[in-house]
Subunit: 340 residues, 2 copies
DNA sequence: ATGAAAGCGCTAACAA
DNA sequence: TTGTTAGCGCTTTCAT
């Protein structure tokens, strides 16, 4: 049968000779409750007509759509795309559709975007990405999300919490501390830190943690250069450091791999060979970290797993029991050979 | 005013002392038609109550949701995430929300996913990613999309067309030909091609184009190694080539940068230095191509632009006028120095 | 210019 | 177990 532009449940019910309610029960409603013979007839009719439920209608009738809204800073950033991949995998398993929106790592846009997402009445809203040091918008965001939760929606943050919602926390500071210690053990003593903007807590936490660990091992932070929390931001910071001569520095720590990778390119361009003239370390263990030369020392964060986790958390019966923070694993690679 | 769990248009209308219809006209409906005084009162009421339209309800009333569904092979692949970024930017400008789904580069899953997306009654469905050589599912997919279009939805393919829908075409074969010619000019004569699975037309087109161009310049294809169209697939292929000794080969062309990058890592691991012992070239110009060592010769494809374009195309008044294919630009970098 | 009311497709009481 | 029916929130004729 040629499916007309849109087959409704009504059509299916008619075709099968049963009531709307019965058809609904068979195709979508709760399990077990319809006689096998009816069940089959409905299924057959649906099949024949090519019926597909109208999600908007379902959402309206149920008050909630089988959607999860995911906010990321920048989908083209491997950090976020890995988290997204994990979230989408888990969502698909749960029969949910994922709506993705980007915030550009900006608090205002984050707020706007949350509002837009709320309009879909999704089952959950997931906010991946750093919280902001400047809490200007936090009250508004909180209110917006609190209201969403009051309506039965679930909210899950990924990274830092602070606003009192469920959170898949990432142990940025601890892992960075461990990395700092290890690098100090390897003989590094004077580090230049490449960090993202002050307002990104993720970056700040990592820098602080690293500083502490490195300090414990007897190392010092010589300087900190800031830039966008992107590849190009890292590149620019790398150029700046290279221009300064790097005289007093034996190590560069960037608060994300993507910045580290950009910085390495800048260094090499300036004739400074990463891993040889100066050690370089990053954070995240994005795929590229293995493929640059030399392979990049970093902290592995199970990004995909975190994405899955966020969805799982959102689907749990009860909010409130945030799991323990995800821990990172220090990965020493050739970009930081032991200092003789 | 404390926004109760959900403020409806009804509430706003009541608060403003106007009818539902008027409120609707002010807040969403077509422009100009409401007296300024009413207009203001409604706006104020909406503001005060924190009203946000329920998209599902709007979708139902209008028959179509302000959503665009985007299908990608793998969101963690920079090729797709760049396209996605572009599509999301354009969608946001148009006030549309983007639902993303992954196909895992599998025709069956692609079909399933299209069905799921259709349930949202989105304004458009965008299919990024290679078509499949094995057209087993093409009829079903066509039928599904044709039906979607019949209901007023728009369909846009990105890459190859073939199914008779609007397409943002990518000139893979032509650009690969140009690349092959250039590399032959540079003195390369014997290439090993690293390709994705046979079924991915994108990969096949690029390999064919390259072969032609390289042949024109007097070069030969010595061997072709296939693997997953991923970084790891490239790595595995690279290992295989390295193991074979690479005796008879002065160049490796991978049909995507991501494979090329993986292959470079494998080569280096085996003691073969890319750009020195053997030239390496890729395709796409993903961000990483600049950051590997040596920087990777490739064909630049304006991925973000393509994503934007797909959305723009979908929003055009009339289907059918697919723009000219997007052309790639050959970028010779240090991974393919001129052969002496 | 404004309002009343009929749906849009589906679910979930409530009846039978 | 199955069917009837009242909404869900919004848009859109059609009157007024």
């Amino acid at each position: 049968m040629e499916p007309s532009s849109s087959v409704t449940l009504h059509d299916v019910a008619a075709e099968a000779g049963v009531s709307l309610a019965t058809a609904s029960r068979v195709l979508n409603g709760s399990v077990r409750k319809v006689a096998e013979s009816y069940r089959e007839r409905v299924m057959a009719a649906a099949q024949r007509l090519g019926y597909a439920p109208n999600l908007s209608a379902q959402a309206m009738a149920k008050g909630r759509a089988n959607i999860v809204g995911l906010l990321v800073g920048d989908i083209a950033d491997p950090y976020f795309s890995a988290i997204t991949a994990g979230a989408m995998a888990a969502a698909e398993e749960a029969g949910l559709v994922v709506t993705v929106a980007v915030t550009g790592r900006d608090a205002d846009r984050e707020l706007t975007t949350v509002r837009a997402l709320k309009g879909q009445r999704p089952r959950a809203i997931l906010l991946a990405g750093s919280r902001f040091a400047d809490a200007t918008r936090d009250d508004e965001l909180s209110a917006e999300l609190e209201n969403f939760r009051a309506g039965g929606g679930r909210v899950v943050f990924v990274s830092q919490s602070g606003l009192g919602f469920d959170t898949v926390r990432i142990g940025n500071e601890e892992a960075a501390t461990a990395l700092g210690e290890r690098l100090a053990e390897l003989g590094y003593r004077r580090v230049a830190i490449i960090a993202g903007p002050h307002r990104l807590i993720t970056s700040t936490d990592r820098a602080r943690g690293f500083t502490r660990g490195f300090g414990r091992g007897g190392g010092d932070v010589v300087t900190t250069v800031r830039g966008d929390f992107t590849r190009d931001g890292g590149f620019a910071a790398g150029e700046k450091l290279a221009a300064s001569g790097l005289s007093d520095v034996d190590l560069i720590f960037a608060t994300s791999d993507i910045m580290a990778v950009g910085a390495m390119s800048a260094l090499r361009r300036a004739g400074i060979i990463p891993g040889e003239h100066v050690g370089v370390a990053g954070f995240d263990d994005i795929s590229t970290a293995r493929d640059v030369t030399p392979p990049l020392t970093t902290v592995a964060i199970p990004l995909e797993e975190i994405g899955r986790s966020a969805v799982t958390q959102a689907l749990l019966d009860e909010p409130g029991d945030s799991p323990a923070p995800v821990t990172g694993t220090v990965l020493i690679r050739e970009s930081t050979p032991a200092r003789t």
